[in-house]
């Protein structure tokens, strides 16, 4: 489903990733942990097609993204992936529901259908009545939930999250993670969460630990 094969990335003289290989099966739920500088964000960016590795390849849903142009990777991201980042970064001028609708509209769906589906997701996440508010008028937790909704509204095969609850208190963080895990599990979406928080990692089935640009260990939950 999503695979990095012998990927190496350097920023100038710094080696961020060193011959890293990782394979995510469809429907897998993976936590990527490591200290700052361990390379976990770089690995995430490679998997998302944001940066091209200096060596190695990244395969998304059978397609080798390392050969695609920037525009094609962008399109692939739109079609197959959803992303949630630490600060959500919703467009502040748009309402929450307009933010959530965006991926569907970009994919060419009709506005009415997009709005309906977006409202459905906002409902699942418990913020249905905030659809017409702007980010400035809602709390951080609510905005982050909208970001999660945006990541899932177009039914992507893969959801990538980078410290999605980093800016939230524990209760809100727990709620957002629960929503993320539940929604991806029920739809069979692969979920990869980059985090340094043990509690966050414990929400997911598999734990991959990184250190100094390489994968240190992979721990699968055998009961699953």
């Amino acid at each position: 489903m999503l695979e990095a094969c012998h990927v190496s990335v350097s920023y100038g003289a710094t080696r961020a990733l060193c011959d890293v290989s990782l394979r995510l099966a469809p429907g897998a739920s993976v936590a990527l942990m490591g200290a700052s500088g361990s390379g976990k964000s770089s690995l995430l960016h490679c998997l998302a097609g944001v940066i091209l590795p200096d060596e190695g390849s990244v395969v998304v849903d059978g397609i080798d993204v390392t050969n695609l142009s920037d525009r094609e990777r962008s399109r692939l991201r739109l079609e197959r992936m959803g992303v949630v980042f630490q600060f959500g970064d919703l467009v502040p001028e748009l309402t929450l529901i307009e933010n959530v609708m965006l991926p569907l509209q970009l994919l060419g769906r009709r506005t009415r259908e997009a709005r309906r589906r977006a409202a459905e997701l906002l409902g699942l996440l418990g913020i249905a009545d905030l659809g017409d508010s702007r980010t400035g008028a809602v709390s951080g937790g609510q905005a982050q939930r909208a970001a999660v909704a945006r990541a899932m509204v177009h039914e992507p095969k893969i959801v990538l999250a980078d410290e999605p609850t980093g800016a939230l208190d524990s209760i809100n963080g727990e709620a957002v993670l629960d929503a993320l895990v539940e929604m991806t599990k029920s739809s069979g979406t692969t979920l990869l969460v980059v985090t340094h928080d043990n509690v966050v990692a414990s929400h997911l089935d598999t734990l991959v630990t990184m250190h100094d640009g390489a994968i240190l260990s992979t721990q699968m939950d055998t009961s699953v």
């Binding site: 944001v50 940066i51 399109r75 970064d89 502040p92 001028e93 970009l106």
Partner: protein, 637 residues
């Protein structure tokens, strides 16, 4: 207070972004002060010291003040815009300071210090740059202008204005508009709220339009006879138009936003509509300088047209630019000698000499009032080197232009010697049938005299005319190429000149022309610069959201299109409005009908150019929008 100032100074050079802004502030202040000093100096030396209007020195002062004001306004707007760059980010930071416990006054000091120091440095730098550049500018050779004798030193008031007022205004702009109460600081920390636009903003524009419309009068040169109350009303109307057009922009933007959101489908419409809806006044800030520039440039034509249309100027311009002519009247015995003296003068290209008679219609009851000058010449004489003069007839009389005397059919003229006050001597009657018409301009070019007088030309072999000739005066005209030397040389040769040319008026108007053209270039440039800088800055402060949008897969061209529409819509509207308002103001000032002031084709052409340029400018602001997706930006700030 001291701590607050120090904090402000520290903030001015803190991070890379802040340093860049401070550098831009210094540059903007330097450019602004230099431009102001230069224009003030030019205006003062070229126009302010003119002797063309000895009876009305107040008007000249007003004129100079007006031109300074015309440049000062966009310069101030430009500098103020730079001071408010990245307003969102800096307001947020100041609000955070409030949350930390600083009082409102202290926060204002911080903001003032952050911007004020850079502004002061910039203004001083600009003044120094001006002092260095002034001697260079005065050496620029503009044809027809004599710069070298004038030094471009602006008066003391200019220095005070630039060194004190300019930084003061920047500081005020930076320090004032914040919502600095702590209870409002919290919601201000998050962004993206809509400001509602009040319709009361339409009032000044409507008022200004009404005032201008009410004070319009018939086409008369009434400037020195207008009652001061009416002058004030006109000026107030013009000022209200200028202010009003700026205030109206957010209303328009809000309206368009609502329309786009209601009618549009798809993410592009949503993005554009919502962005326009949020902070509609921000659009004004970006294009204000440009709009003022257009308003002034279009309106200032009014000032110029008044002067360019006077006969004195037209004649003087023709004299200096096309051909100099000097008229000398000589008695029949002196005519040849006079002509050869004139011919011998350096620069004189040819000398024409024609006998001059007078005539009036035979049926006229009041001969003194209906007198025309009669020139006796053959068509080849008139034509000179060019052969025959077009429209001239050797068989009958030729009318020059359309003298009013002939409005009712005149069958015959009585021609005699003498002057216009005393017909004397024998008279010859000649029939007027078959009279042809000579074009006025061609006649003046050929003869170089008798402008603004009703003239007819009769062939020398007209019956009876030969007898009148021996005693009548000759009109001797020296023709030279363009220049200003002729009168001096003729007078130095001891001859008395009958004609006159108002060179001082000419110089004054030329000075005005130069000034206005400089102004136009300067003002529009400042407007464009303000627009571009503010536009790019706005794109940069959006980088985080743009990065996220790219991350979720939004195609770059959609983001570019959104940015373009968001920039283009207010700019096109604003520039068209500015041109219309400026045109209306200028026409009002001149008390002219609109289509005399600016014919429809010119207005249309101007509108098209403005629209195309606005679209181009909007495109420039999309430059920052779609750089490669950079992972550094994903975790920025």
């Amino acid at each position: 207070m001291r701590a607050a100032i120090l904090l402000g100074l520290r903030l001015a050079v803190g991070t890379g972004g802040q340093r860049t802004r401070s550098v831009m502030m210094v540059t903007a202040s330097a450019v602004g002060s230099m431009v102001l000093l230069l224009v003030w100096g030019i205006a003062h030396s070229q126009v302010g010291t003119t002797t063309a209007f000895p009876s009305n020195p107040g008007a000249v002062t007003l004129l100079v003040a007006g031109t300074i004001g015309m440049v000062a306004l966009p310069v101030l707007v430009f500098v103020a815009t730079i001071a408010r760059l990245s307003a969102r980010v800096r307001d947020r930071r100041l609000s955070n300071l409030r949350l930390l416990g600083l009082s409102a006054a202290q926060t204002r000091w911080v903001a003032a210090a952050e911007v004020g120091f850079a502004s002061l440095v910039g203004v001083v730098a600009g003044a120094v740059a001006f002092l260095a550049a002034a001697p260079l500018v005065s050496r620029i050779d503009v044809p027809g202008r004599d710069w070298t004798s004038s030094s471009l030193t602006p008066p003391t008031s200019a220095w005070i204005c630039v060194l004190a007022v300019l930084p003061a205004i920047t500081v005020l702009t930076a320090a004032l508009p914040q919502r600095l109460s702590s209870d409002r600081a919290l919601p201000h920390v998050r962004h993206g709220d809509i400001r509602s636009v009040q319709l009361v903003r339409l009032v000044p524009l409507v008022l200004g339009f009404a005032l201008c419309w009410a004070t319009r009068g018939p086409l008369l040169d009434r400037k020195d006879t207008l009652p001061p109350g009416e002058v004030l009303a006109i000026l107030a109307g013009i000022a209200l138009l200028a202010i009003g057009m700026l205030l109206v922009i957010p209303v328009f933007v809000a309206l368009v936003a609502t329309l786009v959101l209601r009618l549009g489908r798809g993410p592009l419409a949503t993005l554009i509509g919502r962005r326009l809806q949020t902070q509609p006044a921000g659009a004004t800030r970006v294009i204000a300088a440009l709009m003022i520039g257009l308003f002034i440039v279009v309106g200032a034509r009014g000032v110029l047209v008044a002067f360019l249309a006077t006969n004195q100027y037209i004649n003087a311009a023709d004299f200096v630019e096309r051909a100099q002519t000097a008229e000398v009247t000589a008695s029949p015995s002196e005519a040849n000698a006079t002509a050869s003296v004139l011919r011998s003068l350096e620069g004189v290209q040819r000398v024409t000499s024609f006998p001059v008679l007078y005539g009036e219609p035979v049926e006229s009851s009041a001969p003194e009032e209906n007198m025309v000058t009669v020139l006796v010449a053959s068509c080849t004489d008139l034509g000179g080197e060019d052969g025959q003069l077009a429209g001239c007839s050797d068989q009958a009389a030729s009318l020059v232009g359309d003298p009013w005397i002939f409005d009712s059919d005149v069958e015959a003229m009585r021609v005699h010697e003498g002057n216009e006050y005393e017909p004397r001597g024998a008279a010859v009657v000649m029939a007027m049938d078959g009279a042809t018409t000579i074009d006025t301009a061609e006649f003046e070019r050929a003869v170089g005299a008798l402008a603004d007088t009703p003239v007819i030309v009769i062939p020398p072999d007209t019956e009876g005319v030969a007898g009148l000739l021996p005693r009548t005066d000759r009109l001797v005209v020296a023709h030279a190429g363009p220049g200003r030397f002729l009168y001096d040389r003729v007078q130095d040769a001891g001859l008395r000149i009958n004609s006159s040319v108002d060179l001082e008026n000419y110089d004054f108007v030329q000075g005005m022309l130069t000034l206005v053209r400089t102004l136009a270039a300067v003002i529009i440039s400042i407007g464009l610069l303000t627009f571009t800088i503010a536009g790019i800055d706005r794109a940069l402060t959006r980088r985080r959201e743009l990065t996220t949008l790219r991350l979720i897969g939004t195609p770059g061209r959609l983001l570019r299109a959104a940015q373009w529409w968001e920039a283009a819509l207010p700019t096109v509207f604003g520039s068209l409005l500015a041109i219309a308002a400026g045109g209306y103001a200028g026409a009002t000032y001149l008390q002219l009908d609109d289509d005399k002031f600016m014919p429809l084709t010119t207005a249309f052409a101007l509108a098209v150019v403005a629209t195309v340029t606005s679209m181009l400018l909007a495109w420039i602001t999309t430059v920052g929008t779609t750089a490669r997706l950079n992972p550094e930006h994903i975790r920025a700030e």
